[in-house]
């Protein structure tokens, strides 16, 4: 009983730290990052991409049954990042869908899937961009999935109900992505009188709260599809070490 109470306290503490952050939304548009930063973010994502590619090959070679779930993780990201949803702030943004795949395959694999989605959107939809691909991949397909899996593992460790772990993983992963986008813009565009922090507050505050309802939507959708996977793909989940015998 003692232990249960303290674990609840820790959960609440984590929530208090993470929740008040306000958010920026969507990808950085083509040409809107200086050359220096475009190149920097490209270099940063390369190791994540390489590890992700190796992990996909390894997981699929070990047992090709997981292919269908890999497809689901990619398709889920594809759908969600095409849905520009209205938010209470009167502007629009879209969820990222990275949480589901991060739970199933780990964050590195999501870097690969996320970059495919971003290339599709940059080339065909003029949404995001080729020059900002590195930065957008870092926020949506590195930081998002890494925060997501961290949250999932923490809540799973404290024996939270699985739906809650899944929900918070997707919810906070989504929020983390857009907080990262705001930070990237603030780093590249420090305010003339106040520097990076002033810019960060500007980027965070203008768009604050837009992403929160969308992140809740993403959390709910992720719980729905995860419950389905849990019901129908027990064998695959055991292969991926998500279920015990």
């Amino acid at each position: 009983m003692q232990f249960k109470n303290s674990s609840h306290l820790i959960l609440i503490f984590i929530l208090i730290i993470i929740l008040p952050q306000s958010l920026f939304a969507m990808h950085i548009m083509e040409g809107f990052l200086p050359v220096y930063w475009s190149i920097t973010w490209f270099i940063v994502i390369i190791p994540f991409l390489l590890i992700g590619l190796m992990q996909i090959r390894k997981k699929v070679n070990e047992n090709s049954k997981v292919k269908i779930l890999l497809g689901v993780a990619g398709a889920f990201m594809f759908v969600l990042s095409a849905l520009k949803l209205p938010s209470v702030t009167g502007s629009c943004s879209h969820p990222t869908g990275a949480g589901l795949g991060a739970i199933l395959f780990g964050p590195f694999v999501m870097t690969v899937l996320g970059s495919i989605v971003l290339i599709f959107q940059a080339l065909l939809l003029a949404h995001g961009g080729i020059t900002t691909l590195g930065a957008n991949t870092f926020s949506m397909a590195v930081i998002g999935p890494f925060v997501a899996i961290l949250i999932y593992k923490i809540f799973d460790f404290f024996k939270a109900p699985r739906w809650l772990s899944v929900f918070l993983c997707a919810f906070l992963g989504d929020l983390a992505t857009y907080t990262m986008t705001a930070s990237q813009l603030a780093l590249a565009f420090p305010s003339a009188n106040g520097g990076i922090s002033t810019s960060l507050i500007k980027f965070l505050s203008i768009f604050s709260f837009t992403q929160i309802p969308l992140a809740i939507s993403e959390g709910i959708l992720t719980v729905l599809i995860f419950n389905f996977i849990l019901k129908h793909n027990k064998e695959e989940l055991k292969i991926l070490n998500l279920l015990k015998d």
Binding site: A75, G90, K202
Partner: protein, 97 residues
């Protein structure tokens, strides 16, 4: 034995209801807004902070017009949703066997 709904149905129903509410409610709360994408708003904020900044690269190709853009977004959603639909059908069929 005579269950009206399959297990999990009511739970899913409630979740989907909340989901729809989250998407529809903004139209009440923010009636006077035009629901512009936050990436467009962000680009404006950049030019406010740094008035000299000019985007140094243009999209290689842009959809000619709003309608074509929404066509392509719909295509993206359809590809993803199509696969998920295929998966759900496949698995439901498999577990009925």
């Amino acid at each position: 034995m005579n269950k009206k709904f399959p297990p999990g149905f009511i739970k899913n129903f409630i979740l989907i209801f909340i989901l729809i509410a989250l998407i529809v409610l903004p139209f009440w709360f923010a009636k006077d807004h035009k629901f512009i994408g936050t990436d467009d708003i962000a680009s404006k904020a950049i030019t406010e902070i740094n008035t000299n900044y000019k985007p140094w690269f243009q999209s290689l190709w842009s959809p000619p017009g709003k309608e074509i853009e929404s066509l392509l977004f719909a295509l993206q959603a359809a590809i993803g949703a199509g696969f998920i639909g295929y998966y759900i059908g496949l698995m439901t069929g498999r577990s009925k066997k």
